[in-house]
């Protein structure tokens, strides 16, 4: 065995190289904060393996993908489990790369000489987002089709080249036979190839510059002294990466895989929605959880800021990400960089707030609203009963709640009569507002009167 290894090493040099890579000294006491990069890599490798398995049965054709997904989910051996692993693997990869970026930023590990570690990681972050988006579309059901159209509509907002970009996304004038194959090629070949290349570069840079040590207060990074100090620290206190530091990566990585597997078994993959038929108009497209916050951003953005948010904001975000390592010297400790935790907290708070808003989606009409039950209407006079019926049939209830029934787009009208007079209610109904249609044209005076009679009982 050892002779075989020696021969292999003579012909390839790989054994020596691997030993150097594994045993290279790393700073002591790095701790559990350093496991998120390797865990992201493990999640990516899990995606590669489960993705290859799924690709052996998936048919990347607009007309057949849905049926092949049903086959994978319902009939193929372990198909449901593999889809679940691939879904929760994607979720894990998004979450872990987010934490890894935040950790690197908080510890200022991007400073000299590791600026390109950060930049290669920043590109990997963008590619991971691209993988998540294209992957969600390969679950080629009704939601996927409408997500493609929403993506194309956003591309369409770009000045000058918008229409061309939208056509590029759809691969044509409308969703059709060419649309899915294109996303499949990007999700399965193009983006993963770039990810492999950049992970290679990222790891090469980690080996070249070494793992960054824990920041120490009062020990700023200077180009003239950093490398000598780091090397001296490694000589005096460095420990071999394998196994002194690697055991944490192994334990955490294995835990990530285990959690993904457990979720895949217990929760399972996301249900397939209706078939990808763009002529079925009863559709309620919602993105997967990792984009749900952006769905809320698009709903809550004032129209005047829309193009800015859709077109400029992502560019600004990308630019900031690339500009971070410009400040490549100085203190690394968060105590001398108080804005760093504030920024991370601000970004997380904003995303979580929009995320909650997106999950509730109060701006969406409640298409499932049912007529108000008699005990809610309470009053039995003819005009009030008629008004309550109209409240549902004319669509008021899609957006307004009464006693917990109805949508949440507009104000809750359970007590509307205590803040508006009958005249005020009638005016609001006929004239509407920025977020409410003016009903003057679609209601007869009698209908308005009945509605006012009903709403006036809501005190």
């Amino acid at each position: 065995m050892s002779r075989l290894l020696a021969w292999l090493d003579d012909r390839t040099g790989l054994v020596t190289w691997t030993r150097h890579a594994l045993e290279h000294p790393v700073p002591p006491r790095t701790g559990w904060w350093y496991v998120f990069g390797s865990a992201t890599l493990i999640a990516f490798l899990l995606q590669v393996v489960t993705g290859i398995a799924l690709a052996t049965a998936y048919v990347p054709a607009s007309g057949q993908a849905y049926e092949s997904l049903r086959f994978i989910s319902e009939q193929a051996l372990m198909g449901r489990f593999l889809r679940g692993m691939h879904y929760f693997g994607a979720s894990a990869m998004m979450l872990l790369i987010g934490i890894h970026v935040a950790r690197t930023y908080l510890m200022a590990a991007y400073k000299y000489p590791r600026e390109l570690n950060w930049l290669s990681g920043a590109v990997l972050l963008l590619l991971t987002i691209a993988l998540a988006f294209t992957g969600q579309l390969l679950r080629w059901d009704q939601t996927a089709v409408w997500s493609v159209i929403v993506a194309a509509a956003q591309a369409g907002k770009v000045p000058v080249i918008g229409t061309d970009l939208a056509r590029f996304v759809l691969a044509g004038d409308t969703v059709g036979g060419a649309t899915l194959s294109r996303f499949f090629a990007f999700h399965v070949f193009f983006i993963p190839a770039l990810v492999f290349l950049l992970i290679g570069l990222h790891l090469l840079l980690v080996l070249r510059h070494g793992i960054s040590e824990r920041p120490r207060l009062g020990q700023p990074v200077e180009e003239a002294t950093y490398r000598a100090r780091y090397d001296a620290m490694l000589r005096s206190e460095g420990v071999p990466f394998w196994p002194d530091a690697a055991w944490r990566d192994a334990v955490f990585g294995a835990a990530v895989v285990a959690v993904i597997a457990i979720l895949a078994v217990i929760v399972g993959p996301p249900e397939l929605g209706r078939p990808p038929d763009p002529s079925i108009l009863q559709a309620y497209p919602r993105p997967d959880w990792y984009f749900l916050w952006y769905f809320a951003v698009l709903a809550l953005t004032p129209t005047s800021l829309e193009t800015f948010i859709i077109v400029v904001a992502p560019l600004v975000f990308g630019a900031i990400l690339l500009l971070v390592p410009l400040s490549n010297t100085g203190e690394r400790s968060v105590r001398r960089r108080p804005w760093a935790p504030l920024l991370v907290i601000a970004i997380v708070t904003v995303i979580v707030s929009f995320w909650i808003a997106g999950a509730q989606a109060k701006w969406s009409p409640d298409f499932a609203a049912t007529p108000l039950p008699a005990e809610v209407v309470h009053d039995t006079s003819a005009a009030v009963v008629e008004g309550a019926r109209l409240f549902h049939s004319k669509g008021c209830e899609f957006c307004h709640q009464i006693a917990g029934h109805g949508g949440e787009r507009g104000p809750d009208l359970s007590n509307v009569a205590s803040r508006l007079t009958s005249q005020g209610i009638a005016l609001q109904i006929t004239n509407g507002g920025p977020n409410m249609p003016a009903y003057a044209r679609s209601l007869t005076p009698d209908e308005v009167q009945a509605l006012v009679a009903f709403l006036s009982t809501r005190k």
């Binding site: 007309g63 956003q154 056509r167 590029f168 691969a171 078939p275 769905f295 709903a299 669509g395 249609p437």
Partner: protein
């Protein structure tokens, strides 16, 4: 299988370089020529591969799909004043398009007997609007856009009225002209 190092004899000395001091000066232009030649032929090869690659990817931008009139039903199937959804095939569906080649429109028979075919795509971000007949409104399920029966914006984020398809009546049948999804 020999293990490394079993051949103890040292490597023979490398052969003397072909150049001699006398022609060293002439070698430089030769090397420059070779390096330029190699770069140029590699670039040419990359262009040979790259042009079809990029061309194929952007082909949908230059390929103009013909527009077709599609019959959606006899005129008398549509009641005056009503708005209903109609389904028709895209202009030139690929054989593997399946159900994705289908498109819908909201067809309204107006009071003067004419027809208006609204695009189902919300002008905000393209989601499918739903016609609520009793309320005489189109509602968007994504971000809460609302349109009146005539397609004008009633409330919410949409920046423009609903798009319209060209529509005509031929031999008693209503026909809709297939069109790109109206973006921007």
């Amino acid at each position: 299988m020999d293990a490394a190092g079993s051949d103890a004899s040292p490597d023979p000395a490398p052969p003397a370089p072909p150049s001699t001091p006398t022609n060293g000066a002439e070698m430089l232009p030769r090397r420059r020529f070779f390096s330029r030649l190699s770069t140029a032929v590699s670039a040419a090869a990359a262009v040979i591969v790259g042009v079809p690659f990029i061309g194929f990817l952007v082909a949908p931008l230059v390929r103009r799909v013909p527009r077709e009139w599609r019959a959606v039903g006899p005129v008398d199937r549509f009641a005056v004043g009503e708005t209903v959804s109609v389904t028709f095939q895209d202009a030139s569906p690929l054989p593997w398009s399946g159900v994705t080649a289908r498109t819908a429109a909201w067809l309204r028979r107006t009071e003067d007997g004419g027809f208006t075919a609204f695009s189902v795509n919300c002008t905000h971000l393209g989601c499918p609007v739903q016609w609520i007949a009793d309320a005489r409104l189109f509602l968007c399920p994504c971000h809460g856009g609302v349109y009146n029966a005539d397609g004008t914006v009633a409330a919410g984020p949409p920046p423009r009225p609903l798009g319209e398809y060209p529509v005509r009546v031929r031999s008693g049948r209503v026909e809709i002209l297939t069109s790109p999804i109206p973006f921007a």
